[in-house]
């Protein structure tokens, strides 16, 4: 079965220097979409990746990355909505590209569907009360 998985990859320095991610396509036949990346040579790096492929290949690909020293986190762990700080204004909703943040009707409360988040962090920039937090 084909599935889509969104993950955050943390590259230690030695892994950041080698072309590992392209192996997902070459060795495992996976399709991937880089949602965000900040990797520079000789530094640690971070990449938010959407991986599309057969379930078993997905697993194998991620295992391969882990063996190469890449730390993997599911994406939903990384952008959090702090309910205590949220004043339900809705400012984040208009800038969210995937409607992960939306205004629920009829309550008009701002809701966050973590699985839709691509960690672009526009909500973190937009939120006037620091209710949206990036935990990378």
């Amino acid at each position: 079965m084909v599935s889509t998985k969104r993950v955050v990859l943390h590259f230690p320095q030695e892994a950041a220097e080698r072309p590992i991610v392209c192996d997902l396509a070459l060795r495992f036949g996976l399709t991937f979409n880089i949602l965000r990346a900040s990797i520079s040579p000789h530094h640690e790096g971070l990449m938010v990746l959407e991986i599309i492929g057969e379930n078993t290949k997905n697993e194998e690909g991620l295992k391969y990355l882990q063996e190469k020293g890449v730390e993997i986190q599911p994406l939903s762990q990384d952008i959090k909505k702090n309910e205590q700080r949220c004043i339900q204004c809705g400012t984040c909703v208009g800038v969210c590209p995937t409607a992960a943040l939306f205004i629920e009707k009829p309550s008009y409360m701002v809701r966050y569907e973590e699985t839709k988040c691509i960690a672009c962090e526009l909500c973190v920039l937009a939120c006037p009360t620091y209710a949206m937090e990036a935990l990378f």
Binding site: I87, Q88, G90, V93, G94, V95, F102, Y108, V110, T129
Partner: protein
Amino acid sequence: MGNTLRSYEEINEKIKKGQAVVVTAEEIIDLVNKNGIEKTAREVDVVTTGTFGAMCSSGAMINIGHTKPRMKISEAYLNGVMAYGGLAAVDLYLGATQVAKDDPLNKVHPGEFKYGGGHVIQDLVAGKDILLEAFAYGTDDYPRKKLVTWINLQTLNQAYLFNPRNAYQNYNVAVNCSEKIIYTYLGLLLPDLGNASFSSAGQLSPLLNDPYYRIVGVGTKIFLGGGTGYVAWQGTQHDPGVKRNEKGIPRGGSGTLAVIGDLKEMSPEWLWGLSLRGYGCSLAVGLGIPIPILDEETLLYCSVRDEDIEAPVVDYSSAYPNGTGEVLGFVNYADLRSGRIHINGRDVPSAPISSYARAREICLILKKWIQEGRFTLTAPVLPLPGIESGVRFRNLPERPLNYNQNGVRR
């Protein structure tokens, strides 16, 4: 239509007996739809309105009490945020948008503006101790020159919110027609009409339920910041002459209110410090106004719906900063709340920067207060300037200084 149905005194009598019929500005829409104006006006005594959003022209007036020896404060900081001390000895005014003195501002754009006047007000109301640093030049009667101490809301002589401009009657819808992201007081605006941001509570908003200021005036008792307050004056930039639609609703920012209320009664839930990236600090204020249904006309205005209220769409990358007055078009609040509006043939995502959920909560709290006999109504002692007053919002006519050839000012 103009027949008086009830007076303030009669309504207050019913409130004291716990018999007043109170509904919110949202509930009244369905009631009027179902039963019509005439019947509903006979049944309902009060309609409650509310809004909760960024209101930059807000601030707190505090009196800290005298020190020994005495001190006439000329410069003061509360948690590192400058408060205005150009008043009598120990009176201070703290503005909502004042940023902390060591804030890097927009030196690295967009600045974060993590802490400012709005945040100090929220912390003060939350009962937290606030660090006061004050300086003075010293006089014979006020010799002290320096003071560093903790202060707390409970021990201040007076602490009241005094907001020169709140509860804007309608407001702009902000968009960005440029090619780069911009950071405004209406939030982050994505390039090339990437999103639209709006601010009014629409059908719940106080002055949109009383478009001609027939009810709300100086002295009207209100819900303010979780406590009670009063309308103190017309707000700054009050502009009753803005063009109106056939329902009498101004098609843009128009009436405003200056409001006042005791901070000691208020709550940090309803006064919330804001950090607007690239713009600055502000304060989200919760404000609600009860509208007595004195006659059918009052009810007619109170039954306003989001689809009846139109707002101008303004480009905040050019038209707004340059003050050109150019409008890209008008959209109504029903469309804005649907999450999609059409501008220049484009489908643009729309989202509010003021909370409809919490505006509704204010309407409900005020309703409860009135039903329980805890909140009575006051008749205004002075009306707000109306359409016929000639009061209007002017831009500044700049008058450059002239110098002669010797560099002397003429």
